[in-house]
Amino acid sequence: MNEDAGPIFRQVADQIENAIVDGSLAEESQAPSSNELAAFHRINPATAAKGLNQLVADGVLYKRRGVGMFVAPGAREQLLKRRRSEFADQYVRPLMTEAQKLGISPRELTALIADWEDQ
């Protein structure tokens, strides 16, 4: 985990979300336990548990008593939907700020993106 990148529990949650989005952690499959996450990332088990509980609260994971945490059905679609809605703020905003600094107009930017696609 990266000490400089904000709360560690959030990073744990993000990483599990990434695995769900890219399909490596399928729906209804078991998520890693907090102890496994703690050992792998070398973090406090309570922090790992906090990350998992966040995902349970968000409905991305669900608990099976005595067994562990599993990826909820529909979790991937839910995450994609959320990430699409956050896309503008997380990616377009910094892009526009930097473009403005460099004097690149929105029109030129659009052309750049179109060129990018052709490559």
Partner: protein, 309 residues
């Protein structure tokens, strides 16, 4: 909080003749948690650990461990393992003698764990401790601290002379064993960056007083480093809690504690460069502040908290 506290320190002051080592310290160590006890040399970390482990009695105030005073209290102390910086052993003791002695002392002693740690750290069991290197002697302390499985385990700068590989081994085994058998761990260290992810709580003391006593995750999120034109940085810092600032020409960089989540965006919107501030940077910035004095907006000495021994 008190119901789940392994250790309660209540308004403790500790004086040695003219010197006040601890000055009105109150804190708790929650049951089954890992706390980093941080601060500069001479801040009072070791004194606090000595009080908690019954090696000293406070001048005023009280210390409770599992609900009782630890001083000369065997029923409490059998549940407490204190791994001291530069721990000494009897001259004739071999590594295995130190481990056998510890096995008799601690009711929860895990002999299998001790054996496997001995292998991990590559320690010669039959060698006299006196003849071990600095780092190997530290490893003996770490093995005792982990294998004791004491409900309260304190490590005071446990890794003098330990190389990076051995330290990593210590962190890995600590996390693995803690996950298997949760207990209360207090760890004092100057290698903040290395242990930061392991910590659940942070207690920072400076000149005998508590500077910070908080959840590690909230602290990680509580400070930002902003840089840009001096007047913009100053304007931003005035609205928050300025900890430390340095300037070069018209450019200023400041470590600022922020209270609301919008502060980062607000700083970025005024054109400042905003960087996250990790635990070590926050601790250094706070320790550089003299009590009752705001950090000046001018060049400051380099931010070395501590040389690594």
């Amino acid at each position: 909080m008190t119901a789940t506290a392994a250790v309660t320190v209540d308004d403790v002051t500790m004086r040695f003749r003219e010197h006040t080592a601890l000055d009105g310290v109150s804190t708790t160590f929650a049951r089954d948690s890992i706390t980093g006890l941080l601060g500069r040399n001479g801040a009072g970390k070791t004194t606090l650990m000595q009080l908690v482990t019954g090696h000293r009695v406070p001048t005023t105030g009280s210390v409770h461990v599992f609900g009782a005073s630890p001083y000369e209290n065997d029923s409490v102390l059998q549940d407490v393992c204190f791994v001291r910086e530069g721990q000494r052993y009897p001259d004739h003791f071999r590594v295995q003698d130190a481990l056998s002695a510890a096995a008799m002392l601690f009711p929860n002693w895990d002999a299998d764990l001790a054996r496997s740690l001995l292998r991990d750290f590559d320690l010669p069991a039959k060698r006299t401790i006196k003849k071990l290197s600095r780092g190997m002697t530290s490893a003996v302390g770490i093995i005792i601290g982990l294998a004791s499985r004491a409900p309260l385990t304190l490590f005071d700068e446990p890794y003098l002379g330990l190389d990076a590989v051995a330290r990593q081994l210590f962190y890995d085994r600590l996390i693995a064993d803690y996950a298997e058998q949760p207990r209360t761990v207090v760890l004092s260290t100057h290698l903040i960056e290395e242990i930061a992810p392991l910590l659940e709580r942070v207690l920072l003391i400076d000149r005998g007083r508590v500077l910070l006593d908080d959840d590690a995750e909230s602290l990680r999120h509580s400070a930002v480093t902003v840089s840009g034109p001096a007047e913009h940085v100053q304007a931003f810092a005035r609205r928050h809690d300025l900890l430390h600032a340095e300037s070069l020409g018209g450019h200023t960089r400041a470590v600022v504690r922020v209270t609301d989540g919008d502060a980062r965006q607000a700083a970025a919107d005024t054109g400042l460069t905003v960087e996250p501030t990790n635990l070590q940077q926050l601790i250094v910035a706070m320790s550089l502040q003299t009590p009752g004095e705001r950090a000046p907006l001018q060049p400051a000495p380099p931010a070395d908290l501590e040389e690594v021994s």
